[in-house]
């Protein structure tokens, strides 16, 4: 019964093929020499050249990367604070509220989050652009960073912190010399998750953005609406490669950390 048998293997192969085939199609066709998307015209990297020559797309990519970097950093700091409060402070006034505010944005439809933030910005008369997108993304990403860091804090050996305290270290020093190094893999994972979320978001950014601030997903979205082009295939391939590299590095880091423990 507990053996891994042919039906299991079939389920695995079919399931993973379903997940990966569409992306494989994009990657293969990004190297298609023909302008016609479905006709194979031989191997070529010409679409990567056109892609890099596309200034609007380059600008959008640069903006998205800057937003993602600031977002991930702020969200990780706020997320670490929230995770500490939720796991270490026992019962305090507002704990349920904080827990709810962390959980809700993760399942809330993006259109609602986007709309509500936009109405806040308009109501407060704030000009929309780089920083409003950052604020929107931090709000969303903090929740995910909190959950990642929290899961690490729960399984944490507190006797190490207590030892440092008994030896006379002040709380801030205990945090930076004992707690933080030990939860670092989770902090790094939270940072990367926040970065990926921000880089990927179309809906919330569309609401929070103003004229002049067009992120990469917004630019790609308007291009996609006009049709399938080899250039978008090339852009997709680059993004898939970037994310795959990040995830592989992250899982190697987690594995080494797990082995060291």
């Amino acid at each position: 019964m507990s053996r891994f048998r042919a039906p299991h293997l079939i389920a695995l192969v079919v399931g993973l093929a379903f997940l990966y085939a569409p992306m494989l199609v994009l990657i293969v066709y990004s190297f298609n020499a023909s302008k016609l998307v479905t006709v194979w015209g031989g191997f070529s990297t010409r679409w990567y050249a056109t892609l890099f020559a596309n200034e609007a797309l380059r600008e959008a990519a640069f903006l998205s990367l800057r937003i993602a970097f600031v977002t991930a950093t702020l969200a990780t700091i706020l997320g670490a604070m929230a995770a500490l409060a939720l796991t270490r402070f026992g019962r305090f006034p507002g704990r349920t509220l904080l827990g709810g505010m962390i959980a809700a944005p993760m399942v809330m439809p993006e259109v609602i989050i986007g709309l509500s933030l936009l109405l806040l910005f308009v109501g407060m008369n704030i000009e929309r652009g780089f920083w409003t997108i950052v604020v929107a993304h931090v709000t969303l990403a903090t929740c995910f960073a909190t959950v990642v860091i929290q899961s690490r804090l729960v399984t944490f050996d507190r006797s190490l912190e207590e030892a440092a305290q008994d030896l006379g270290a002040p709380p801030l020093r205990v945090f930076f010399t004992v707690t933080l190094p030990l939860i670092m893999p989770a902090v790094a994972a939270g940072w990367m998750l926040a970065f990926a979320l921000s880089l990927d978001d179309l809906v919330v950014a569309s609401f929070a953005s103003g004229p002049g601030a067009t992120t990469l997903p917004m630019r790609l979205y308007s291009a996609i609406r006009l049709g399938v082009t080899p250039e978008i295939n090339a852009a997709s391939t680059l993004l898939i490669a970037l994310v795959a590299a990040l995830v592989v590095v992250a899982s190697l880091a987690v594995k080494r950390d797990a082995a060291a423990r």
Binding site: M1, S2, F4, H8, A11, L12, G15, L16, F18, L19, P22, M23, V25, L26, V37, T38, L78, M81, A82, A85, F89, F92, L97, M101, I102, A103, A104, V107, P109, E110, V111, I112, L115, S116, L117, L119, L120, G123, V135, T139, T142, A196, D200, L202, P217, L220, Y221, I224, R225, V228, I232, N233, L239, I240, V243, A244, L246, V247, S251, K255
Partner: protein, 294 residues
């Protein structure tokens, strides 16, 4: 001293989420009670200080909600969102369960790698994953080319811009959300229980339905809600893969806001969507708590 320190740690995330998550909902609620106006911002009345709060309150009305109730379009959109999301969730469970089961049965050394393989697509751009399906489903796209080359079909299937395409896109995008909780439940499952059932004469099929499935219930529920709740308000998938016959409430909200510039009506659509989602979200949190308590 400790209390002050704790307050300093807990306060920033609370203030941030209170200001940028909670407060905006109150504003949405307020604007959903306002009238559309040809102004910037396009709604009335405005909040203009504490002195005029009485006039401000008097100018509010429920006309947007009346529009939602009376215009059949909105009711259809809510119902078809629920129907499509429920169908997509059922299909995701149908595809995700065998996959999660197979990973849980795989040799121990393979499992972490297989879990990463399932999660990896989730990390790549959502937009690109949906876009990939446009390339596959469009007339004379990849799917048509393959099927016609194999002589399975003789004419293009015209799947793009249909509800089928929306369902495929949803199942594809949300599959990792279903597989992960299912795997967590199935991996922990005590196999000796299944063996005991079989020793007592139950067929493999019966043992599966009377032992494995009930024990995997928490994972099933978690997966169902993780797929169902976000897919009800989904915008990108129905917009890019759906056609004119695909009415989904996320798309309706987007159109009211960006195309019709009717901010109050868009806000009312959002409020009703939230009310619909509160039930599933509360049940989900209960299930998650029960799961943690086990």
């Amino acid at each position: 001293m400790t209390a002050l320190r704790r307050a300093l740690v807990a306060a920033p995330p609370m203030l941030w989420l209170g200001l940028f998550f909670l407060l905006p909902f109150l504003i949405v609620l307020k604007i959903s009670l306002s009238h559309a106006a040809l102004a910037i911002p396009p709604y009335a009345p405005h909040w203009s200080g504490l002195d005029s709060w009485r006039e401000f309150l008097a100018a509010l009305g429920v006309e947007n909600y009346r529009t939602l109730a009376e215009d059949g379009l909105y009711l259809t959109a809510y119902l078809s969102s629920l129907r499509l999301a429920a169908t997509a969730t059922a299909l995701t469970l149908l595809i995700g369960f065998p996959l999660a089961y197979a990973i849980a049965r795989a040799p121990r050394g393979w499992r972490p790698l297989l879990v990463v393989a399932v999660v990896l697509p989730f990390w790549t751009s959502f937009l690109i994953r949906v876009y990939a399906w446009i390339a596959i489903l469009r007339p004379e796209g990849v799917l048509d080319s393959i099927l016609m080359a194999l002589d399975v079909t003789s004419a293009p299937l015209n799947l793009l811009n249909t509800q089928t395409a929306v369902l495929i896109g949803m199942v594809y995008s949300y599959l990792p959300f279903m597989v992960l909780p299912l795997y967590a439940s199935l991996e922990r499952l005590d196999r000796t229980l299944v063996e005991a059932a079989q020793d007592l004469g139950a067929s493999a099929w019966r043992a599966f339905w009377t032992v494995t499935v009930p024990l995997a219930k928490p994972g099933i529920w978690a997966g169902v809600f993780l797929v169902l709740i976000p897919s009800i308000g989904e915008f990108v998938i129905p917009d890019l893969l759906g056609g004119s016959d695909t009415l989904m409430v996320g798309k309706v909200l987007w159109t009211e806001f960006f195309s019709n510039r009717d901010w109050p009506l868009a806000s009312a659509v959002a409020v009703v969507m939230l009310v619909i989602l509160v039930g599933p979200i509360l049940i989900f949190q209960r299930v998650a708590r029960m799961e943690r308590a086990r």
